[in-house]
Amino acid sequence: MEVARKANPIIDSPIQVRKASKLKKILSNYQLYLFLLPALVYFIVFHYVPMYGILIAFKDFVATKGIMGSPWVGFKHFERFFDSYQFWILIKNTLGLSVIQLIVGFPLPIFLALMMNQIRSDKYKRFVQTVVYAPHFISVVVLAGMIYVFFSNNGLINNLILIFGGDPISFMAKPDWFKPLYIASGVWQETGWAAIIYLAALAGVSPELHEAAVMDGANKWQRIFHVDIPAIMPTAVILLILNVGNIMNIGFEKAYLLQTPMNQPAAEIIPTYVYKMGLQQAQYSFAAAVGLFNSVINLVLLVLVNKFAKKLSGTGLW
Protein backbone atom coordinates (compact mmCIF):
# COMPACT_ATOMS: atom_id res chain seq x y z
CA MET A 1 0.00 0.00 0.00
CA GLU A 2 2.89 2.29 0.72
CA VAL A 3 4.19 1.43 -2.72
CA ALA A 4 0.87 2.28 -4.36
CA ARG A 5 0.79 5.67 -2.70
CA LYS A 6 4.26 6.51 -3.88
CA ALA A 7 3.70 5.21 -7.40
CA ASN A 8 0.78 7.42 -8.39
CA PRO A 9 1.15 10.73 -6.65
CA ILE A 10 -0.05 12.73 -9.61
CA ILE A 11 -2.99 10.69 -10.86
CA ASP A 12 -4.79 10.14 -7.55
CA SER A 13 -5.44 12.82 -5.04
CA PRO A 14 -3.94 11.90 -1.66
CA ILE A 15 -7.35 11.65 0.01
CA GLN A 16 -8.63 9.17 -2.53
CA VAL A 17 -5.56 7.05 -2.12
CA ARG A 18 -5.88 7.07 1.61
CA LYS A 19 -9.51 6.06 1.41
CA ALA A 20 -8.82 3.30 -1.04
CA SER A 21 -5.93 1.95 0.98
CA LYS A 22 -8.02 2.06 4.12
CA LEU A 23 -10.72 0.04 2.44
CA LYS A 24 -8.16 -2.35 1.06
CA LYS A 25 -6.67 -2.73 4.49
CA ILE A 26 -10.06 -3.55 5.98
CA LEU A 27 -10.99 -5.92 3.19
CA SER A 28 -7.73 -7.79 3.26
CA ASN A 29 -8.20 -8.36 6.96
CA TYR A 30 -11.89 -9.29 6.83
CA GLN A 31 -11.21 -12.59 8.60
CA LEU A 32 -9.79 -10.73 11.57
CA TYR A 33 -12.96 -8.67 11.78
CA LEU A 34 -14.95 -11.88 11.80
CA PHE A 35 -12.77 -13.02 14.70
CA LEU A 36 -13.68 -9.86 16.55
CA LEU A 37 -17.36 -10.08 15.80
CA PRO A 38 -18.56 -12.38 18.62
CA ALA A 39 -16.74 -10.36 21.29
CA LEU A 40 -17.88 -7.08 19.80
CA VAL A 41 -21.50 -8.21 19.70
CA TYR A 42 -21.12 -9.39 23.28
CA PHE A 43 -19.82 -6.05 24.52
CA ILE A 44 -22.50 -4.14 22.68
CA VAL A 45 -25.37 -6.34 23.84
CA PHE A 46 -24.34 -6.97 27.42
CA HIS A 47 -22.44 -3.77 28.22
CA TYR A 48 -23.42 -0.92 25.93
CA VAL A 49 -27.13 -1.73 25.68
CA PRO A 50 -27.33 -1.80 29.51
CA MET A 51 -25.57 1.59 29.56
CA TYR A 52 -28.37 2.85 27.38
CA GLY A 53 -30.76 1.07 29.75
CA ILE A 54 -29.57 3.38 32.53
CA LEU A 55 -32.10 5.84 31.13
CA ILE A 56 -34.73 4.05 33.19
CA ALA A 57 -33.16 5.68 36.24
CA PHE A 58 -34.68 8.93 34.98
CA LYS A 59 -38.02 7.38 34.07
CA ASP A 60 -40.84 5.45 35.64
CA PHE A 61 -40.07 2.22 33.91
CA VAL A 62 -43.03 0.10 32.90
CA ALA A 63 -42.01 -3.16 31.26
CA THR A 64 -44.87 -3.17 28.74
CA LYS A 65 -44.02 0.32 27.49
CA GLY A 66 -40.32 -0.36 27.11
CA ILE A 67 -37.50 2.06 27.88
CA MET A 68 -38.49 4.68 25.33
CA GLY A 69 -42.21 4.57 26.04
CA SER A 70 -41.93 5.00 29.80
CA PRO A 71 -42.50 8.55 31.09
CA TRP A 72 -39.58 10.77 32.11
CA VAL A 73 -39.46 11.72 35.77
CA GLY A 74 -36.13 13.53 36.01
CA PHE A 75 -34.28 13.01 39.26
CA LYS A 76 -37.26 11.73 41.22
CA HIS A 77 -35.66 8.38 42.05
CA PHE A 78 -32.38 9.97 43.06
CA GLU A 79 -34.18 12.40 45.33
CA ARG A 80 -36.10 9.57 46.91
CA PHE A 81 -32.85 7.73 47.54
CA PHE A 82 -31.05 10.77 48.96
CA ASP A 83 -34.01 11.52 51.23
CA SER A 84 -34.52 7.98 52.47
CA TYR A 85 -33.41 7.26 56.01
CA GLN A 86 -31.22 4.47 54.64
CA PHE A 87 -29.10 6.71 52.46
CA TRP A 88 -26.46 7.62 55.03
CA ILE A 89 -26.49 4.16 56.57
CA LEU A 90 -25.79 2.63 53.17
CA ILE A 91 -23.03 5.10 52.40
CA LYS A 92 -21.47 4.54 55.79
CA ASN A 93 -21.65 0.76 55.50
CA THR A 94 -20.36 0.62 51.94
CA LEU A 95 -17.53 3.07 52.40
CA GLY A 96 -16.66 1.75 55.84
CA LEU A 97 -16.35 -1.78 54.59
CA SER A 98 -14.32 -0.94 51.51
CA VAL A 99 -12.01 1.59 53.12
CA ILE A 100 -11.10 -0.74 55.98
CA GLN A 101 -10.70 -3.56 53.51
CA LEU A 102 -8.32 -1.44 51.48
CA ILE A 103 -6.30 -0.28 54.48
CA VAL A 104 -6.00 -3.80 55.88
CA GLY A 105 -5.91 -5.75 52.65
CA PHE A 106 -3.63 -3.63 50.52
CA PRO A 107 -0.31 -3.76 52.40
CA LEU A 108 -0.52 -7.41 53.45
CA PRO A 109 0.26 -8.96 50.04
CA ILE A 110 3.33 -6.71 49.84
CA PHE A 111 4.62 -7.95 53.21
CA LEU A 112 3.87 -11.53 52.25
CA ALA A 113 5.67 -11.19 48.93
CA LEU A 114 8.72 -9.64 50.60
CA MET A 115 8.77 -12.47 53.12
CA MET A 116 8.31 -15.18 50.51
CA ASN A 117 11.04 -13.63 48.42
CA GLN A 118 13.48 -14.05 51.31
CA ILE A 119 12.85 -17.78 51.74
CA ARG A 120 16.16 -19.52 51.11
CA SER A 121 15.02 -23.02 50.23
CA ASP A 122 13.36 -23.31 46.82
CA LYS A 123 11.36 -26.33 47.91
CA TYR A 124 9.92 -24.57 50.93
CA LYS A 125 9.17 -21.55 48.78
CA ARG A 126 7.28 -23.57 46.21
CA PHE A 127 5.34 -25.32 48.93
CA VAL A 128 4.42 -22.02 50.56
CA GLN A 129 3.26 -20.63 47.23
CA THR A 130 1.06 -23.63 46.49
CA VAL A 131 -0.57 -23.35 49.89
CA VAL A 132 -1.17 -19.61 50.09
CA TYR A 133 -2.62 -19.37 46.59
CA ALA A 134 -5.11 -22.15 47.22
CA PRO A 135 -7.86 -20.24 49.11
CA HIS A 136 -8.29 -17.97 46.08
CA PHE A 137 -10.00 -20.85 44.30
CA ILE A 138 -12.56 -21.51 46.97
CA SER A 139 -15.97 -20.34 45.87
CA VAL A 140 -17.59 -17.46 47.69
CA VAL A 141 -20.44 -19.73 48.74
CA VAL A 142 -18.04 -22.20 50.31
CA LEU A 143 -16.14 -19.37 51.99
CA ALA A 144 -19.33 -17.98 53.46
CA GLY A 145 -20.33 -21.51 54.49
CA MET A 146 -16.99 -21.92 56.25
CA ILE A 147 -17.58 -18.68 58.12
CA TYR A 148 -21.00 -19.91 59.19
CA VAL A 149 -19.72 -23.24 60.50
CA PHE A 150 -16.64 -21.81 62.18
CA PHE A 151 -18.42 -18.91 63.82
CA SER A 152 -21.68 -20.66 64.71
CA ASN A 153 -22.61 -20.83 68.37
CA ASN A 154 -21.02 -24.24 68.72
CA GLY A 155 -18.40 -23.75 66.06
CA LEU A 156 -14.65 -23.96 66.18
CA ILE A 157 -14.08 -20.36 67.26
CA ASN A 158 -16.52 -20.44 70.12
CA ASN A 159 -15.02 -23.72 71.29
CA LEU A 160 -11.65 -21.99 71.32
CA ILE A 161 -13.08 -19.08 73.27
CA LEU A 162 -14.50 -21.53 75.82
CA ILE A 163 -11.11 -23.21 76.25
CA PHE A 164 -9.55 -19.86 77.06
CA GLY A 165 -12.32 -19.20 79.52
CA GLY A 166 -14.26 -16.60 77.55
CA ASP A 167 -17.96 -16.36 76.85
CA PRO A 168 -19.28 -17.59 73.51
CA ILE A 169 -20.23 -14.90 71.03
CA SER A 170 -23.01 -15.24 68.48
CA PHE A 171 -20.93 -13.74 65.70
CA MET A 172 -23.48 -13.98 62.92
CA ALA A 173 -26.14 -12.18 64.93
CA LYS A 174 -24.05 -9.17 65.92
CA PRO A 175 -23.83 -6.24 63.49
CA ASP A 176 -20.46 -5.31 65.01
CA TRP A 177 -18.94 -8.56 63.83
CA PHE A 178 -19.98 -8.29 60.22
CA LYS A 179 -17.10 -6.08 59.10
CA PRO A 180 -14.32 -7.98 60.88
CA LEU A 181 -15.60 -11.30 59.52
CA TYR A 182 -15.95 -9.93 56.04
CA ILE A 183 -12.49 -8.39 56.02
CA ALA A 184 -10.64 -11.19 57.80
CA SER A 185 -12.09 -13.80 55.47
CA GLY A 186 -11.06 -11.65 52.52
CA VAL A 187 -7.53 -11.40 53.85
CA TRP A 188 -7.40 -15.15 54.38
CA GLN A 189 -8.64 -15.86 50.88
CA GLU A 190 -6.85 -13.28 48.74
CA THR A 191 -3.58 -12.21 50.35
CA GLY A 192 -1.55 -15.06 48.87
CA TRP A 193 -2.97 -14.61 45.41
CA ALA A 194 -2.46 -10.87 45.47
CA ALA A 195 1.19 -11.44 46.41
CA ILE A 196 1.93 -13.15 43.07
CA ILE A 197 2.17 -9.93 41.18
CA TYR A 198 4.64 -8.47 43.69
CA LEU A 199 6.66 -11.67 43.63
CA ALA A 200 6.89 -11.30 39.87
CA ALA A 201 8.13 -7.74 40.27
CA LEU A 202 10.68 -8.89 42.84
CA ALA A 203 11.89 -11.66 40.55
CA GLY A 204 12.63 -8.99 37.99
CA VAL A 205 15.06 -7.17 40.27
CA SER A 206 18.53 -7.42 38.79
CA PRO A 207 20.80 -9.64 40.92
CA GLU A 208 23.58 -7.11 40.42
CA LEU A 209 21.72 -4.60 42.54
CA HIS A 210 21.67 -7.03 45.42
CA GLU A 211 25.31 -7.97 44.90
CA ALA A 212 26.33 -4.35 44.90
CA ALA A 213 24.36 -3.78 48.07
CA VAL A 214 26.04 -6.77 49.70
CA MET A 215 29.44 -5.42 48.67
CA ASP A 216 28.56 -2.20 50.39
CA GLY A 217 27.82 -4.17 53.52
CA ALA A 218 24.04 -3.98 53.46
CA ASN A 219 22.26 -6.64 55.48
CA LYS A 220 19.03 -8.29 54.37
CA TRP A 221 16.84 -5.84 56.16
CA GLN A 222 18.55 -2.90 54.45
CA ARG A 223 18.38 -4.59 51.07
CA ILE A 224 14.64 -5.07 51.46
CA PHE A 225 14.22 -1.39 52.17
CA HIS A 226 16.58 -0.02 49.56
CA VAL A 227 16.36 -2.55 46.75
CA ASP A 228 13.18 -4.63 47.01
CA ILE A 229 10.65 -2.04 48.07
CA PRO A 230 11.64 0.56 45.45
CA ALA A 231 11.45 -2.23 42.87
CA ILE A 232 7.81 -3.01 43.60
CA MET A 233 6.63 0.57 44.07
CA PRO A 234 5.31 1.11 40.51
CA THR A 235 3.28 -2.10 40.72
CA ALA A 236 1.95 -1.09 44.11
CA VAL A 237 0.88 2.34 42.86
CA ILE A 238 -1.04 0.89 39.92
CA LEU A 239 -2.79 -1.65 42.13
CA LEU A 240 -3.61 1.05 44.66
CA ILE A 241 -5.23 3.16 41.95
CA LEU A 242 -7.25 0.22 40.75
CA ASN A 243 -8.32 -0.60 44.29
CA VAL A 244 -9.33 2.90 45.18
CA GLY A 245 -11.13 3.22 41.88
CA ASN A 246 -13.12 0.14 42.76
CA ILE A 247 -13.85 1.23 46.27
CA MET A 248 -17.61 1.29 45.81
CA ASN A 249 -17.56 -2.02 43.91
CA ILE A 250 -17.29 -4.00 47.06
CA GLY A 251 -17.58 -7.78 46.78
CA PHE A 252 -21.30 -7.87 46.92
CA GLU A 253 -21.71 -11.62 46.60
CA LYS A 254 -20.01 -12.30 49.89
CA ALA A 255 -21.80 -9.48 51.69
CA TYR A 256 -25.12 -10.86 50.53
CA LEU A 257 -24.26 -14.35 51.75
CA LEU A 258 -23.07 -13.11 55.13
CA GLN A 259 -26.22 -11.11 55.79
CA THR A 260 -28.50 -12.45 58.47
CA PRO A 261 -31.70 -10.79 59.66
CA MET A 262 -29.80 -9.76 62.79
CA ASN A 263 -26.64 -8.20 61.35
CA GLN A 264 -28.53 -6.30 58.67
CA PRO A 265 -27.89 -2.83 60.14
CA ALA A 266 -24.19 -3.15 59.38
CA ALA A 267 -24.35 -5.57 56.48
CA GLU A 268 -26.64 -3.73 54.09
CA ILE A 269 -24.47 -2.09 51.45
CA ILE A 270 -25.42 -0.30 48.25
CA PRO A 271 -25.08 -3.29 45.91
CA THR A 272 -27.18 -5.60 48.11
CA TYR A 273 -29.73 -2.82 48.47
CA VAL A 274 -29.91 -2.46 44.67
CA TYR A 275 -30.45 -6.18 44.34
CA LYS A 276 -33.24 -6.26 46.89
CA MET A 277 -35.00 -3.16 45.64
CA GLY A 278 -34.62 -4.01 41.98
CA LEU A 279 -34.95 -7.71 41.65
CA GLN A 280 -36.82 -8.77 44.76
CA GLN A 281 -39.25 -5.86 44.84
CA ALA A 282 -39.16 -5.08 41.10
CA GLN A 283 -38.60 -1.33 41.61
CA TYR A 284 -36.44 -1.27 38.50
CA SER A 285 -36.14 2.47 38.04
CA PHE A 286 -35.34 3.22 41.66
CA ALA A 287 -32.76 0.45 41.87
CA ALA A 288 -31.18 1.53 38.59
CA ALA A 289 -30.87 5.06 39.98
CA VAL A 290 -29.13 3.81 43.11
CA GLY A 291 -26.84 1.65 40.98
CA LEU A 292 -26.02 4.58 38.72
CA PHE A 293 -25.20 6.76 41.71
CA ASN A 294 -22.77 4.08 42.81
CA SER A 295 -21.05 3.72 39.43
CA VAL A 296 -20.69 7.46 38.96
CA ILE A 297 -18.99 7.89 42.34
CA ASN A 298 -16.73 5.03 41.41
CA LEU A 299 -15.76 6.54 38.09
CA VAL A 300 -15.10 9.94 39.62
CA LEU A 301 -12.92 8.36 42.30
CA LEU A 302 -10.96 6.43 39.71
CA VAL A 303 -10.28 9.50 37.60
CA LEU A 304 -9.27 11.58 40.63
CA VAL A 305 -6.98 8.94 42.08
CA ASN A 306 -5.37 8.38 38.73
CA LYS A 307 -4.66 12.07 38.34
CA PHE A 308 -3.32 12.30 41.85
CA ALA A 309 -1.07 9.27 41.42
CA LYS A 310 0.27 10.57 38.14
CA LYS A 311 1.24 13.84 39.72
CA LEU A 312 2.79 12.12 42.70
CA SER A 313 4.70 9.28 41.12
CA GLY A 314 4.41 9.55 37.37
CA THR A 315 2.64 6.20 37.10
CA GLY A 316 -0.99 6.00 36.14
CA LEU A 317 -3.50 3.89 34.32
CA TRP A 318 -3.75 6.22 31.36
Binding site: K25, V128, Q129, Y133, M146, Y148, I197, A201, L299
Partner: protein, 304 residues
Amino acid sequence: MSILALKNKRMTRKSKEDKVFDIINFFLVAIILLLVVYPLYFIIIASISDPNMIYEGKVWLLPKELTLEGYQRIFGDSKIWLGYKNSIIYTVVGTIVNVSFTLMAAYALSRKDLYGRNVIMFLFLMTMFFSGGLIPTYLVVKNLGLLNTMWALILPKAVAVWNVIVAKTFFESSIPGELLEAARIDGCSDAKFFWKIVLPLSKPIVAVMVLFYAVGHWNSYFDALIYLNNENLYPLQLILRNILIQNQASTMMISDLDSLAAKQRVSELIKYGVIIVASIPLLIVYPFVQKYFVKGVMIGGIKG
Protein backbone atom coordinates in the same frame (compact mmCIF):
# COMPACT_ATOMS: atom_id res chain seq x y z
CA MET B 1 17.03 -15.29 40.69
CA SER B 2 18.87 -18.59 40.45
CA ILE B 3 22.19 -16.86 39.90
CA LEU B 4 21.58 -14.79 42.96
CA ALA B 5 20.66 -17.87 44.97
CA LEU B 6 23.86 -19.57 43.89
CA LYS B 7 25.97 -16.60 44.81
CA ASN B 8 24.20 -16.34 48.12
CA LYS B 9 25.07 -19.91 48.88
CA ARG B 10 28.69 -19.36 47.96
CA MET B 11 28.95 -16.39 50.26
CA THR B 12 29.59 -18.29 53.43
CA ARG B 13 30.37 -15.36 55.65
CA LYS B 14 26.87 -14.35 56.35
CA SER B 15 26.39 -11.72 58.95
CA LYS B 16 24.78 -12.65 62.22
CA GLU B 17 21.89 -10.30 61.65
CA ASP B 18 21.07 -12.03 58.38
CA LYS B 19 20.97 -15.39 60.09
CA VAL B 20 18.57 -14.07 62.68
CA PHE B 21 16.54 -12.55 59.89
CA ASP B 22 16.30 -15.89 58.08
CA ILE B 23 15.21 -17.74 61.18
CA ILE B 24 12.53 -15.20 62.07
CA ASN B 25 11.32 -15.14 58.49
CA PHE B 26 11.12 -18.93 58.38
CA PHE B 27 8.90 -19.06 61.44
CA LEU B 28 6.69 -16.17 60.43
CA VAL B 29 6.03 -17.84 57.10
CA ALA B 30 5.32 -21.10 58.91
CA ILE B 31 2.71 -19.35 61.06
CA ILE B 32 1.07 -17.91 57.95
CA LEU B 33 1.03 -21.39 56.44
CA LEU B 34 -0.73 -22.73 59.51
CA LEU B 35 -3.32 -19.98 59.44
CA VAL B 36 -4.11 -20.77 55.82
CA VAL B 37 -4.10 -24.53 56.12
CA TYR B 38 -5.79 -25.19 59.43
CA PRO B 39 -9.32 -24.03 58.49
CA LEU B 40 -9.18 -26.24 55.40
CA TYR B 41 -7.78 -29.14 57.36
CA PHE B 42 -10.41 -28.74 60.04
CA ILE B 43 -13.22 -28.95 57.47
CA ILE B 44 -11.80 -32.26 56.28
CA ILE B 45 -11.48 -33.85 59.72
CA ALA B 46 -14.82 -32.44 60.85
CA SER B 47 -16.58 -33.94 57.86
CA ILE B 48 -15.65 -37.44 58.98
CA SER B 49 -16.00 -36.98 62.73
CA ASP B 50 -18.96 -37.82 64.88
CA PRO B 51 -21.10 -34.64 64.97
CA ASN B 52 -21.40 -34.82 68.76
CA MET B 53 -17.64 -34.65 69.08
CA ILE B 54 -17.48 -31.48 66.97
CA TYR B 55 -20.36 -30.01 68.89
CA GLU B 56 -18.58 -30.56 72.18
CA GLY B 57 -15.37 -29.12 70.82
CA LYS B 58 -13.32 -32.30 70.98
CA VAL B 59 -12.13 -32.31 67.39
CA TRP B 60 -8.90 -30.38 67.00
CA LEU B 61 -6.10 -32.22 65.29
CA LEU B 62 -7.48 -35.61 64.33
CA PRO B 63 -10.96 -36.85 63.41
CA LYS B 64 -12.81 -38.35 66.39
CA GLU B 65 -15.07 -41.41 66.16
CA LEU B 66 -14.90 -41.74 62.39
CA THR B 67 -18.19 -41.73 60.54
CA LEU B 68 -19.15 -41.45 56.91
CA GLU B 69 -22.75 -40.65 57.73
CA GLY B 70 -22.47 -37.12 56.37
CA TYR B 71 -21.16 -38.27 53.02
CA GLN B 72 -23.76 -41.05 52.83
CA ARG B 73 -26.54 -38.53 53.27
CA ILE B 74 -24.97 -36.09 50.81
CA PHE B 75 -24.51 -38.67 48.09
CA GLY B 76 -27.97 -40.05 48.74
CA ASP B 77 -29.46 -36.70 47.84
CA SER B 78 -30.58 -36.33 44.26
CA LYS B 79 -30.30 -32.52 44.33
CA ILE B 80 -26.57 -32.66 44.88
CA TRP B 81 -26.11 -34.93 41.89
CA LEU B 82 -28.34 -32.79 39.75
CA GLY B 83 -26.40 -29.70 40.80
CA TYR B 84 -23.16 -31.45 39.97
CA LYS B 85 -24.44 -32.36 36.53
CA ASN B 86 -25.70 -28.83 35.86
CA SER B 87 -22.46 -27.25 37.04
CA ILE B 88 -20.41 -29.52 34.81
CA ILE B 89 -22.55 -28.68 31.78
CA TYR B 90 -22.45 -24.93 32.46
CA THR B 91 -18.73 -25.02 33.07
CA VAL B 92 -17.92 -26.96 29.90
CA VAL B 93 -20.22 -25.06 27.54
CA GLY B 94 -19.46 -21.71 29.16
CA THR B 95 -15.73 -22.23 29.02
CA ILE B 96 -15.85 -23.21 25.35
CA VAL B 97 -17.75 -20.02 24.54
CA ASN B 98 -15.45 -17.90 26.72
CA VAL B 99 -12.20 -19.25 25.41
CA SER B 100 -13.11 -19.18 21.74
CA PHE B 101 -14.54 -15.65 21.87
CA THR B 102 -11.65 -14.36 23.94
CA LEU B 103 -8.81 -15.88 21.94
CA MET B 104 -10.24 -14.90 18.58
CA ALA B 105 -10.81 -11.31 19.68
CA ALA B 106 -7.44 -11.12 21.40
CA TYR B 107 -5.62 -12.40 18.34
CA ALA B 108 -7.35 -9.94 16.03
CA LEU B 109 -6.53 -7.09 18.42
CA SER B 110 -2.92 -8.20 18.68
CA ARG B 111 -2.44 -7.61 14.95
CA LYS B 112 -0.96 -4.18 14.39
CA ASP B 113 -2.27 -4.07 10.82
CA LEU B 114 -5.88 -4.26 11.99
CA TYR B 115 -7.51 -0.99 11.12
CA GLY B 116 -9.47 0.43 14.06
CA ARG B 117 -7.95 -1.80 16.72
CA ASN B 118 -7.43 1.08 19.12
CA VAL B 119 -11.05 2.16 18.91
CA ILE B 120 -12.28 -1.37 19.50
CA MET B 121 -9.84 -1.91 22.35
CA PHE B 122 -11.06 1.31 23.91
CA LEU B 123 -14.67 0.11 23.60
CA PHE B 124 -13.70 -3.06 25.43
CA LEU B 125 -11.66 -1.32 28.13
CA MET B 126 -14.36 1.22 28.90
CA THR B 127 -16.56 -1.54 30.23
CA MET B 128 -14.03 -2.17 33.00
CA PHE B 129 -14.59 1.28 34.40
CA PHE B 130 -18.23 1.93 33.80
CA SER B 131 -21.14 -0.45 33.51
CA GLY B 132 -24.87 -0.25 33.18
CA GLY B 133 -25.23 -1.98 36.49
CA LEU B 134 -27.27 -4.86 37.76
CA ILE B 135 -30.79 -3.77 36.80
CA PRO B 136 -30.27 -2.69 33.18
CA THR B 137 -28.22 -5.84 32.56
CA TYR B 138 -30.95 -7.96 34.08
CA LEU B 139 -33.52 -6.31 31.83
CA VAL B 140 -31.42 -7.06 28.74
CA VAL B 141 -31.14 -10.71 29.71
CA LYS B 142 -34.86 -10.80 30.37
CA ASN B 143 -35.77 -9.15 27.07
CA LEU B 144 -33.59 -11.59 25.17
CA GLY B 145 -35.68 -14.39 26.67
CA LEU B 146 -32.70 -15.94 28.40
CA LEU B 147 -34.25 -16.18 31.89
CA ASN B 148 -34.40 -19.76 33.12
CA THR B 149 -32.07 -21.07 30.45
CA MET B 150 -28.45 -22.01 30.84
CA TRP B 151 -27.53 -19.24 28.38
CA ALA B 152 -28.34 -16.67 31.05
CA LEU B 153 -25.29 -17.97 32.93
CA ILE B 154 -23.07 -18.10 29.87
CA LEU B 155 -23.75 -15.25 27.47
CA PRO B 156 -23.72 -12.27 29.88
CA LYS B 157 -20.25 -13.41 30.99
CA ALA B 158 -19.00 -14.46 27.56
CA VAL B 159 -15.83 -12.35 27.51
CA ALA B 160 -13.79 -10.91 30.37
CA VAL B 161 -11.87 -7.81 29.28
CA TRP B 162 -8.97 -8.68 31.55
CA ASN B 163 -8.51 -12.04 29.84
CA VAL B 164 -8.56 -10.37 26.43
CA ILE B 165 -5.72 -8.13 27.61
CA VAL B 166 -3.76 -11.11 28.94
CA ALA B 167 -4.18 -13.13 25.73
CA LYS B 168 -3.48 -10.13 23.51
CA THR B 169 -0.27 -9.38 25.41
CA PHE B 170 0.77 -12.97 25.00
CA PHE B 171 0.13 -13.02 21.25
CA GLU B 172 1.94 -9.72 20.75
CA SER B 173 5.04 -10.92 22.53
CA SER B 174 5.24 -14.53 21.39
CA ILE B 175 4.06 -14.68 17.77
CA PRO B 176 6.84 -13.16 15.66
CA GLY B 177 5.76 -10.97 12.76
CA GLU B 178 8.09 -12.83 10.39
CA LEU B 179 5.97 -15.94 10.87
CA LEU B 180 2.91 -14.15 9.57
CA GLU B 181 4.81 -12.74 6.61
CA ALA B 182 6.16 -16.15 5.70
CA ALA B 183 2.71 -17.68 5.95
CA ARG B 184 1.25 -14.92 3.81
CA ILE B 185 3.77 -15.55 1.07
CA ASP B 186 2.65 -19.16 1.12
CA GLY B 187 -0.91 -17.94 0.64
CA CYS B 188 -2.11 -18.74 4.14
CA SER B 189 -5.29 -16.95 5.23
CA ASP B 190 -5.65 -15.27 8.64
CA ALA B 191 -8.07 -17.91 9.89
CA LYS B 192 -5.79 -20.72 8.80
CA PHE B 193 -2.77 -19.00 10.29
CA PHE B 194 -4.57 -18.58 13.61
CA TRP B 195 -5.74 -22.17 13.68
CA LYS B 196 -2.62 -23.91 12.35
CA ILE B 197 0.18 -21.76 13.70
CA VAL B 198 -0.91 -19.34 16.41
CA LEU B 199 -2.92 -21.76 18.54
CA PRO B 200 -0.32 -24.55 18.59
CA LEU B 201 2.26 -21.96 19.66
CA SER B 202 -0.04 -20.63 22.36
CA LYS B 203 -0.84 -23.69 24.41
CA PRO B 204 0.10 -22.07 27.73
CA ILE B 205 -2.25 -19.16 27.20
CA VAL B 206 -5.05 -21.48 26.12
CA ALA B 207 -4.53 -23.41 29.35
CA VAL B 208 -4.58 -20.20 31.37
CA MET B 209 -7.81 -19.06 29.75
CA VAL B 210 -9.50 -22.42 30.16
CA LEU B 211 -8.58 -22.53 33.83
CA PHE B 212 -9.57 -18.96 34.67
CA TYR B 213 -12.92 -19.23 32.98
CA ALA B 214 -13.69 -22.75 34.17
CA VAL B 215 -13.03 -21.88 37.80
CA GLY B 216 -15.21 -18.80 37.40
CA HIS B 217 -18.12 -20.85 36.11
CA TRP B 218 -17.71 -23.59 38.66
CA ASN B 219 -17.65 -21.13 41.55
CA SER B 220 -20.33 -18.67 40.52
CA TYR B 221 -23.71 -18.60 42.18
CA PHE B 222 -24.99 -15.08 41.75
CA ASP B 223 -26.02 -15.26 38.10
CA ALA B 224 -27.93 -18.42 38.84
CA LEU B 225 -29.59 -16.71 41.79
CA ILE B 226 -30.93 -13.85 39.70
CA TYR B 227 -31.55 -15.51 36.36
CA LEU B 228 -32.88 -18.95 37.31
CA ASN B 229 -35.87 -19.94 39.37
CA ASN B 230 -36.33 -23.46 38.10
CA GLU B 231 -34.73 -25.72 40.70
CA ASN B 232 -33.86 -28.34 38.12
CA LEU B 233 -31.46 -25.89 36.51
CA TYR B 234 -29.66 -24.89 39.72
CA PRO B 235 -25.89 -25.24 39.63
CA LEU B 236 -24.09 -26.84 42.54
CA GLN B 237 -23.13 -23.52 44.16
CA LEU B 238 -26.74 -22.44 44.50
CA ILE B 239 -27.70 -25.75 46.08
CA LEU B 240 -24.71 -25.36 48.38
CA ARG B 241 -25.88 -21.93 49.36
CA ASN B 242 -29.25 -23.33 50.34
CA ILE B 243 -27.63 -26.01 52.44
CA LEU B 244 -24.82 -23.97 54.01
CA ILE B 245 -26.40 -20.61 54.52
CA GLN B 246 -30.10 -21.08 54.55
CA ASN B 247 -30.16 -24.52 56.21
CA GLN B 248 -32.70 -25.44 53.59
CA ALA B 249 -32.05 -28.34 51.36
CA SER B 250 -30.59 -30.41 54.14
CA THR B 251 -34.02 -30.92 55.71
CA MET B 252 -34.59 -33.46 52.96
CA MET B 253 -31.43 -35.30 53.85
CA ILE B 254 -32.21 -35.58 57.52
CA SER B 255 -35.94 -36.23 57.42
CA ASP B 256 -35.51 -39.65 59.06
CA LEU B 257 -34.05 -38.21 62.27
CA ASP B 258 -36.43 -37.58 65.14
CA SER B 259 -34.96 -35.23 67.70
CA LEU B 260 -34.29 -31.64 66.85
CA ALA B 261 -30.85 -31.79 68.42
CA ALA B 262 -29.85 -34.78 66.32
CA LYS B 263 -31.13 -33.04 63.21
CA GLN B 264 -29.15 -29.95 63.99
CA ARG B 265 -25.95 -31.88 64.59
CA VAL B 266 -26.21 -34.00 61.48
CA SER B 267 -26.99 -30.96 59.39
CA GLU B 268 -23.74 -29.43 60.66
CA LEU B 269 -21.95 -32.59 59.62
CA ILE B 270 -23.52 -32.36 56.20
CA LYS B 271 -22.26 -28.81 55.89
CA TYR B 272 -18.67 -29.89 56.40
CA GLY B 273 -19.19 -32.68 53.90
CA VAL B 274 -20.70 -30.57 51.13
CA ILE B 275 -17.86 -28.07 51.39
CA ILE B 276 -15.48 -30.90 50.58
CA VAL B 277 -17.71 -32.42 47.91
CA ALA B 278 -18.08 -29.09 46.12
CA SER B 279 -14.39 -28.28 46.25
CA ILE B 280 -13.09 -31.70 45.27
CA PRO B 281 -12.78 -31.10 41.53
CA LEU B 282 -10.68 -28.01 42.20
CA LEU B 283 -8.67 -29.61 44.99
CA ILE B 284 -7.68 -32.48 42.73
CA VAL B 285 -6.69 -30.36 39.78
CA TYR B 286 -5.21 -27.39 41.62
CA PRO B 287 -1.68 -28.59 42.44
CA PHE B 288 -1.11 -29.58 38.81
CA VAL B 289 -2.42 -26.44 37.19
CA GLN B 290 -1.31 -23.86 39.74
CA LYS B 291 1.62 -22.75 37.61
CA TYR B 292 -0.71 -21.84 34.75
CA PHE B 293 -2.80 -19.62 36.97
CA VAL B 294 0.32 -17.89 38.16
CA LYS B 295 1.50 -17.48 34.60
CA GLY B 296 -1.81 -15.84 33.71
CA VAL B 297 -1.49 -13.32 36.51
CA MET B 298 2.06 -12.50 35.53
CA ILE B 299 1.30 -11.93 31.86
CA GLY B 300 -1.51 -9.62 32.88
CA GLY B 301 0.71 -7.95 35.43
CA ILE B 302 3.47 -7.03 33.02
CA LYS B 303 0.96 -5.15 30.98
CA GLY B 304 -1.07 -3.83 33.90
